[in-house]
Each structure stands twice: as structure tokens, then as C-alpha cells.
């Protein structure tokens, strides 16, 4: 769509048209006996002569720049490139580069999650015969991607570090809760504390009296709902009633603390799936052959910034020269 703006290039003829001197009256010779002739309209000749060549060039450049800015051209300037996801082991990456023969290729560091999408949308920047090597812990895309250039994807799954979640447990049955959180395995680990702190993400409230008004957390598990009036008419999903309050989101259930391992696992699983994003799955290493897919339309030209500056500079120059000419 953008490239249709190039059709506006004939507007460059306008300043050229304006800047030529059009009409020059034919010089009249004296003739003593002209009085015996009928009077005629003065004839005018069109003479192709330039006026203010510098100003004309400036105006033409200004127009061309504007059209180029609108057309948003993308110049294929990138050659062979190694895309390294941020946080990738440098030594492993170096080995892969050597092995794939990309020693002289340019390096490009991108966030792992957006690396493939970025390459796809900026593909017009690569020369037609360029090859790409993508290294790092690249998550697997939902659909098999297609590229216009040969792309080699080599992945190295990073050892997953389980995330820590601070949990505060208040009440007489704290031991049971602690045992349940101790059984939590997978990408999450719970750190159980006596009193809630700034990092606390879950407060388990297993006592009758209401908590102090200043105590806040994203999620509360309440064993006895009598202290929380918000839960009185709360909807129930899968045996858990939930409501939003000024302190944070409240969950409650009559069967808490869970009495059997299956109930405990279900509660923990529900909690994790609702509050924590799943960890990305590292894509397997593979090679994509170049396929003649159309270029992504929304690729943003790298020239746009430069063109904008050129436009501003040319505009300022044009104004100055016009002003100077009027003097």
C-alpha cells in the first residue's frame, strides 16, 4: 500500500513548471509608418529559462523526501546475520556460529520471545541471498513460521529456575497449610512466612477475627468467610467462592484446608494456572528453507527517521532561501 505513494513522484514536475519563466514579450521594432497598419495583440513567446535554480532543487528534494517518507521504503541492506536471543550463553553461541559458518556475519541481539516475529516483520531489510542463524532459548511459535530467507534455528533450553512465591499463613492450622505448600513442585516454590511482607503474593487467613485494614495482598485464601462481608454473596466456581475487595482478591471454600492430596493438588494447580503465566516451551532446533511468502506488510522502514530529519532540514532551508530571495 505504501509503495503506491511512489506514483506521486510526477508532482516533482510542479516546481519545475513554476520555476521556468513562461512568457516573454516579443521585442517590438520601431516602424515609422506603423500607423497605416491595424493594431494587433502583442505576441508573447514561451521561453524555457530557469529562475532560482537552487530554490527549485530544494523544493524538488523536499517533495521527493516527503513522498519517500510516505512510501516508507525499505532498503535490503542486511547480509548474513546471527540473531542471538538475549541471555544466551555466549560460549555456546560462539560454538554454534563457528559450526554454522557465520563467522563474518553481523550479530543482532533480540529478546528471545520476540526474536522470530521481529525477523519475520523486518525480512525486507535482508538482501535476497542472505542467510540467518537464530540462537538461544527461542520459544516455540504456535504455527510453523515461514521465512523468505534460509533460516537456521538452533536452540538451547536454559535450565529452568523455579520462581519463588512468598506466602503468609495466619491461623491455628498453619502446619497443615505449610505441609501443603511444601508439597508444591514444578516451576513454582512457595516460601511460607509468619507475617505478610511487601513481597507477599498470597495470604492464607485461617482465623475468625478480621485482618487489620492495612494488610493487603493480590490474593487471599480465607478459611472462615465470616470476617469478610464481600464473600457473603460471592459466585462459586468449582467449590471456591471468589470476590474482589479493597485488600485484594478473596478465595474461600468450606473444605479448607484440603484434607486429601488430590484436593490439595487441585487447589495449587488452580492457583498456579490462574495467577502465573505458563513457562514457554523451547522450540526444537531446525532449519527453515526460504519460501516465497509475501513480505510482511507492517515492516517499518529503517529510513523513516532519517527521511524525517531530511524533511525538516529541507523545509527549513527552503523557507530561508525563499525569504532571502524576497529581500
Amino acid at each position: 500500500m505504501n509503495s503506491l505513494w511512489w506514483l506521486a513522484l510526477p508532482t516533482l514536475l510542479l516546481p519545475i513548471w513554476w520555476h521556468r519563466k513562461k512568457r516573454v514579450q516579443v521585442a517590438a521594432e520601431p516602424m515609422a509608418t506603423a500607423r497605416f497598419l491595424p493594431r494587433t495583440e502583442p505576441r508573447q513567446m514561451r521561453v524555457w529559462r530557469w529562475a532560482d535554480v537552487i530554490l527549485m532543487i530544494l523544493r524538488c528534494l523536499l517533495l521527493a523526501c516527503l513522498i519517500a517518507w510516505l512510501a516508507n521504503p525499505v532498503l535490503p541492506w542486511r547480509g548474513n546475520t546471527v540473531v542471538v536471543a538475549e541471555g544466551t550463553d555466549a560460549r555456546w553461541a560462539e560454538q554454534q556460529v563457528q559450526a554454522a559458518g557465520f563467522k563474518d556475519a553481523a550479530r543482532l541481539s533480540l529478546p528471545a520471545a520476540r526474536a522470530l516475529a521481529w525477523v519475520r516483520s523486518h525480512e525486507r531489510e535482508w538482501k535476497p541471498d542472505a542467510r540467518l542463524l537464530v540462537l538461544g532459548d527461542i520459544p516455540m511459535p504456535a504455527t510453523p513460521p515461514q521465512f523468505r530467507h534460509a533460516l537456521d534455528l538452533r536452540t538451547l533450553a536454559k535450565p529452568s529456575v523455579p520462581g519463588e512465591v512468598h506466602v503468609a499463613v495466619a491461623g491455628e492450622r498453619a502446619g497443615e497449610w505449610r505441609r501443603m505448600f511444601a508439597a508444591l513442585n514444578g516451576p513454582l516454590r512457595a516460601v511460607v512466612e509468619e507475617a505478610p511482607g511487601a513481597k507477599t503474593e498470597l495470604i492464607v487467613w485461617d482465623q475468625l477475627e478480621a485482618p487489620p485494614a492495612s494488610m493487603r495482598a493480590p490474593l487471599w485464601w480465607v478459611a472462615d468467610a465470616s470476617a469478610f462481608p464481600e464473600l457473603a454473596k460471592a459466585p462459586t466456581v468449582d467449590g471456591i467462592r471468589y470476590a474482589d475487595s479493597a485488600r485484594g482478591r478473596l478465595w474461600t471454600s468450606d473444605a479448607w484446608p484440603p484434607s486429601d492430596p488430590a484436593a490439595a493438588r487441585r487447589l495449587l494447580e488452580t492457583w498456579r494456572s490462574l495467577h502465573y503465566a505458563p513457562l514457554p516451551y523451547t522450540a526444537p532446533s531446525q532449519s527453515f528453507a526460504a519460501s516465497p511468502t509475501p513480505a510482511a506488510m507492517h515492516a517499518d522502514g529503517a529510513l523513516r527517521g532519517f527521511l524525517m530529519w531530511a524533511l525538516v532540514a529541507l523545509f527549513a532551508l527552503e523557507r530561508m532561501v525563499t525569504h532571502a530571495r524576497r529581500r
Partner: protein
């Protein structure tokens, strides 16, 4: 007789030289002047005084009387000669066939020749130049100095502006009551005009008025280029075009105009010579003077 072509006028600004060439082919005594030159008509003898020319001493009387006597000639030139030059802008019109020649140069040459003839015959002559709405008047006198003065005035005349109006002409043409000859050279494109009326009035006052109508070959035959635009040098505004389609109308208008001129001159008994500047000036001059002599 080898007549001097008008190309000579285009080649030199030296009026003396042109006069000599033109008059060489013309011969002497063509002017039937009413006055005599010095020493023609005997009047009386008087005793010699130091400073008198030796050639005026009567040698026969010296032999008889053994005294020096000088022959006194009668010098009663009553006829003054007036040269009137129209130097309005229209006289700038160049010849379209001879480069460098224009109507003013041609008229100037004719008048200079008349002045030279007058000087040779001992007549007094004066000059009136009409240019830029003003009248430049040189009083009549005799002698070679006057000739040089008149030639310088003629040389200095530039074709510009329009003819002077009637009031300026009336104060400018202050001719004596004595009969005089008036040689006027103009293109008579403005007719009737204050100038033509003044000349005809002079004729009515029994002066001998002779007109030369100066024109170019292209003006007479309509031989202008069709390419350029033209303007009238004496009238503001307006551009004119010339072409084969307009030629007939041009010639008709021009003929009608000069028919009035000729008719007016004939009615006032004023001889009018049509002079084309491409013609040899000697021929034109002979015609101008002969016409005068016939009367």
C-alpha cells in the same frame, strides 16, 4: 556621371566628405540664385587699402593711372536660404535594405548639400531643426564658418520625440519679411500638422518653399519583415504586425495619406519631391533644385 550611392551616407558621418562627393557629380550653377556672388556685378572703384585682396586690384587701371584701385562688387543678396530638418522620432526609420542608413541621415545629407551650394554662391543660410518638441534655430549668415556651424548642428541632430506644436513653431520660424527660400526635409507622416501648416503659411507669405518627402523603399512598397512586432516610435501603446495579408491595406492607407499631402502641396503651389533614401542623393538633389529652377 557617377552618382554617389546612398550607401556612402551610411558609411561615414563626415558630412564634408559626403557633400564633396555629391556636389562633384552635380556641377556648378544649378541654383538659379537671384543674387550675385562677390565680384560679379561691378559697382565702383575705391582706393586700395592695406588688407584688401590682391586679386581684387584692377591691374589695367593700375597701368593707366599708376594707382591701386579695388573693384567693389555689388553685394545685395536679398534672398536668405532656410533649411528645415524634421528630426522627430519617425525619422529614425532605417532602410531595410542598406544597413546603417536611416531617414534622418539622408535628410541631413540633402540639407548639407543645399547649404554647401548656398555657401559657394554667397547666399546667407540658416537652419531650423525640429526635434523632441522643440525648435532649434540657427540664424542665417554667410561664409564658410556658417557652413561649418550648420554642418555641426546637422550632425548633432538626433531623431527623438515629436514635432513641436504650433506655438513653438510660430516663435521658431522667425523669418524676415524679405523673400527667402525654404528647403524642408520631413517624412510628412503627420499631415496636416503644425509643421505643414507653418510651411504652407510661409508659402502664402510668398516665400519659396520646397519640400522633400523622405521615405524608405520598404515604406513605399510594403517590404517589411513579417516576423518581428512593430511599434510606432511617436505614439504610445499598441503593437503592430506586418504580413502579406495586411500589405494591401497598408499600401492603401499610405497612398490615401500621401494623396492628401500631395493635394495640399499642389493647392498651395509647393513643389514636393518624393525621396527614397535608397536613391542616390545626387539624383534627388538635382530633382529638388531643378524643380525650383523651373519656376
Amino acid at each position: 556621371m557617377a552618382s554617389v550611392s546612398s550607401a556612402l551616407i551610411a558609411h561615414t558621418t563626415n558630412l564634408d566628405l559626403v557633400i564633396r562627393h555629391v556636389l562633384a557629380g552635380l556641377g556648378q550653377g544649378i541654383h538659379a540664385g537671384r543674387e550675385r556672388g562677390s565680384g560679379v556685378e561691378f559697382s565702383e572703384y575705391r582706393a586700395y587699402a592695406p588688407g584688401d585682396e590682391w586679386r581684387r586690384v584692377d591691374w589695367k587701371l593700375l597701368a593707366r593711372a599708376d594707382r591701386y584701385y579695388v573693384r567693389e562688387a555689388e553685394r545685395d543678396s536679398h534672398v536668405a536660404l532656410w533649411l528645415v530638418l524634421d528630426a522627430s522620432a519617425s525619422m529614425m526609420e532605417p532602410s531595410r535594405s542598406i544597413p546603417g542608413l536611416d531617414k534622418l541621415a539622408y535628410a541631413r545629407t540633402l540639407l548639407a548639400c543645399v547649404a554647401a551650394i548656398a555657401q559657394r554662391q554667397g547666399d546667407a543660410f540658416g537652419l531650423v531643426v525640429l526635434s523632441g518638441g522643440r525648435v532649434q534655430f540657427t540664424p542665417a549668415a554667410r561664409g564658410p564658418r556658417q557652413l561649418q556651424r550648420v554642418l555641426a548642428r546637422l550632425n548633432a541632430a538626433r531623431a527623438e520625440g515629436e514635432l513641436p506644436d504650433a506655438a513653438a513653431l510660430k516663435s521658431g520660424l522667425r523669418f524676415a519679411g524679405a523673400p527667402s527660400l525654404v528647403f524642408a526635409a520631413s517624412d510628412f507622416l503627420d499631415f496636416p500638422s503644425p509643421l505643414s501648416e507653418a510651411l504652407l503659411r510661409l508659402r502664402h507669405m510668398r516665400h519659396d518653399v520646397r519640400l522633400a518627402c523622405i521615405q524608405t523603399e520598404a515604406e513605399c512598397t510594403g517590404g517589411f519583415d513579417a516576423d518581428p512586432a512593430y511599434r510606432d516610435p511617436e505614439r504610445e501603446g499598441g503593437v503592430f504586425r506586418f504580413g502579406a495579408d495586411l500589405r494591401e491595406g497598408y499600401l492603401r492607407n499610405r497612398e490615401a495619406h500621401f494623396a492628401t499631402v500631395t493635394a495640399a502641396c499642389r493647392a498651395a503651389d509647393v513643389p514636393l519631391v518624393d525621396a527614397r533614401i535608397e536613391q542616390a542623393p545626387g539624383d534627388v538633389l538635382r530633382m529638388w533644385l531643378r524643380q525650383a529652377g523651373r519656376r
